[in-house]
Amino acid sequence: MAPQRSSSTTGSVKTGMTMTEKILSKAAEKSQVVPGDNIWVNVDVLMTHDVCGPGAFGIFKREFGEKAKVWDPEKIVVIPDHYIFTTDKRANRNVDIMREHCREQNIKYFYDITDLGDFRANPDYKGVCHVALAQEGHCRPGEVLLGTDSHTCTAGAFGQFATGIGNTDAGFVLGTGKILLKVPPTMRFILDGEMPSYLQAKDLILQIIGEISVAGATYKTMEFSGTTIESLTMEERMTLCNMVVEAGGKNGVIPADATTFNYVENRTSVPFEPVYSDGNASFVADYRFDVSKLEPVVAKPHSPDNRALARECKDVKIDRVYIGSCTGGKTEDFMAAAKLFHAAGKQVKVPTFLVPATQKVWMDVYALPVPGAGGKTCAQIFEEAGCDTPTNPSCGACLGGPADTYARLNEPQVCVSTTNRNFPGRMGHKEGQIYLASPYTAAASALTGHVTDPREFLQ
């Protein structure tokens, strides 16, 4: 709750609203809102995971009573994903705690895991929450989705309002189904031009964050539109919105279109109503990019806004590559990496860790043929290139995690990663150096042992 600013609305003239303003006004049952308004909003979906779920439910019980019931057991989605494949007893306990709460409250959507030895033995288990939310049809245009995780903003790719909250706010939502929000002003980012074959959504968002800085969008909405955006798949749109929080953004949003409807309608039959920014809506900033002129970029240690051209970092020797997370561990991310490995026909020079975000992604990696690779799957290509075997789906080492987390940075090494943050200690070791990059750039870098522009192997 930022310091109060006065509303600028006068009289009863209806001004145009942005997408976010419209979503929030509808959720607040108001006909009109303007940036700065504090409003009570009805929540459509609340997501939590193993790290914050116990705390959120703990607060819910403490504040509403031990016998209290959640506001709607069908609107809560509990997705264990952060510290799953570990011997850490407290981490394991936290999943057990969530199981107990879900049983007691009759929570409909709990993607449980009980057999840690074989993730495939758990039919309900999904993996990374933001990818699972999309895959399971919980992301729908026009809705309000909150999650106890900063990358909840990923779901804005579906034309909805989605943002991260803390345990206490979540505890409040669990009991009431409402949250107090301040309406954010919208920054508009119009991306036009044909997407070059070597460029990915990760490059676009790193470009933007490098432009506006890690606090450039604080308390604001980042709205993405333009011909390039329209050409992006849902997974690429998710990557774009995923890192909105890295610019300080409150939420990211992309107008829903045929691509969105096609994805959503294949996964849920819940009706939805998309909304779009009015022609006369007010935007607090306007950025335009000619995407055809952009080049692959990285974020150098230790900030997501420490942008540099990948080709200008070619002298940086690296120790390992990590491909995974909600940002860069989806099916298309692995397809892209496999495509580059296949085009290069070489072996990686450094340990290359592959962490599929969800069970479904893992299955796709082993089952789907990579276009142009003569029927080979990602898994086959990865094996031929000498990568590590794709591991159990979870958040993995993106945020370090317990000491025994697979691919955790336990030494001061240099890592090129498809993840979302590179602050000191993010993946484990405080002196670890993390270069954030697209899957293409990560794969290219694995092949040379240096930070590498993917054009070395594509084209």
């Binding site: 709750m1 930022a2 310091p3 109060q4 504090n38 009570w40 790290v51 914050c52 116990p54 705390g55 703990g58 607060i59 403490r62 504040e63 509403f64 009573g65 016998k67 209290a68 952060h82 510290y83 850490d88 407290r90 981490a91 306990r93 936290n94 705690i97 106890t148 995780d149 900063s150 909840t152 991260g164 909250i165 803390g166 345990n167 206490t168 706010d169 505890g171 409040f172 009431t176 107090l180 890690v214 606090a215 604080t218 308390y219 929080v245 300080g248 409150k250 900030s303 945020l399 370090g400 995690g401 317990p402 000491a403 943050r421 602050f423 000191p424 200690g425 993010r426 405080k430 002196e431």
Partner: protein, 246 residues
């Protein structure tokens, strides 16, 4: 103890819970951390009240925190405030809450010579954290303001905040996130003795070691929420939600 002005209101945080004009008698909080024998402060004027945040006290017009400063830089993200490996600790569990405090700011790089919490200790000796821009950026983990409060810090004075951290600080009532107008992180040093005074309208940071005073932006409606002990306590006081059943 309930103030006469409390009444059921529509759930609008824009309405400040009205504080009665009468002042409570001086109050020694059990949470007092300031030890008068370790240093000699400049003579203070009228104030003999050291009040810390306690949900048992009435919201006062003035609040004063006095103690040592711990200075950090820009973009201190929540991984540095509380590294991910400690997130298995559940903040609503009292023992684990205390443990979280012992790990506060342990993620800062080695370039920070003084530790916020000494190894082996559970609490910090610093009351006020001085930060730069974008304090608390990164993950939404509520463990971040919680561990700072659990360690015993009372306030952060920074140039700007990331929104989820600010929101979590207010919702939990764990720590006051105050805005400075200038780059105080460049003018204060870890170990400086300071006072933060919260007042209606304007607040100040007084660095007794350097003798400088800094205006702080008013905390506004977030203040009474933190005074009450967080959003739930505030919502119950204001009649927005019922009290907890026994």
């Amino acid at each position: 103890m309930a103030a006469t002005s409390l009444r059921s209101v529509n759930p609008k945080f824009t309405q400040t819970l009205a504080s009665p004009p009468t002042k409570s008698p001086p109050f020694q909080s059990p949470f007092l951390r300031f030890n008068p024998t370790t240093f000699t402060p400049k003579p203070l004027t009228t104030r003999s009240t050291f009040v810390t945040r306690s949900s048992a006290a009435e919201p006062q017009e003035r609040k004063t925190f006095h103690g040592l400063c711990y200075v950090v830089g820009d973009n201190i993200d929540t991984d540095q405030i509380i590294p991910a490996e400690f997130l298995t600790l559940v903040p609503s569990n009292p023992d684990e809450y205390q443990k979280l405090g012992s790990y506060a700011l342990v993620g800062l790089p080695a370039s920070y010579k003084e530790r916020f919490v000494e190894p082996g200790e559970m609490k910090t000796k610093y009351s006020i954290i001085i930060g730069g821009e974008n304090f608390g950026c990164g993950s939404s983990r509520e463990h971040a303001p919680v561990c700072l409060g659990a360690a015993g810090a009372k306030a952060v004075v920074a140039q700007s905040y990331a929104r989820i951290f600010f929101r979590n600080s207010v919702a939990t009532g764990e720590i006051y996130p105050l805005d400075s107008e200038v780059r105080v992180c460049e003018e204060c040093k870890t170990g400086d003795v300071a006072t933060v005074e919260l007042r209606e309208g304007d607040s100040v940071l007084i660095n007794h070691t350097t003798g400088k005073e800094y205006k702080l932006k008013a905390i506004g409606d977030a203040g009474p929420v933190i005074d009450a002990g967080g959003i739930f306590a505030y919502a119950r006081k204001a009649g927005m939600i019922p009290s907890v059943a026994a």
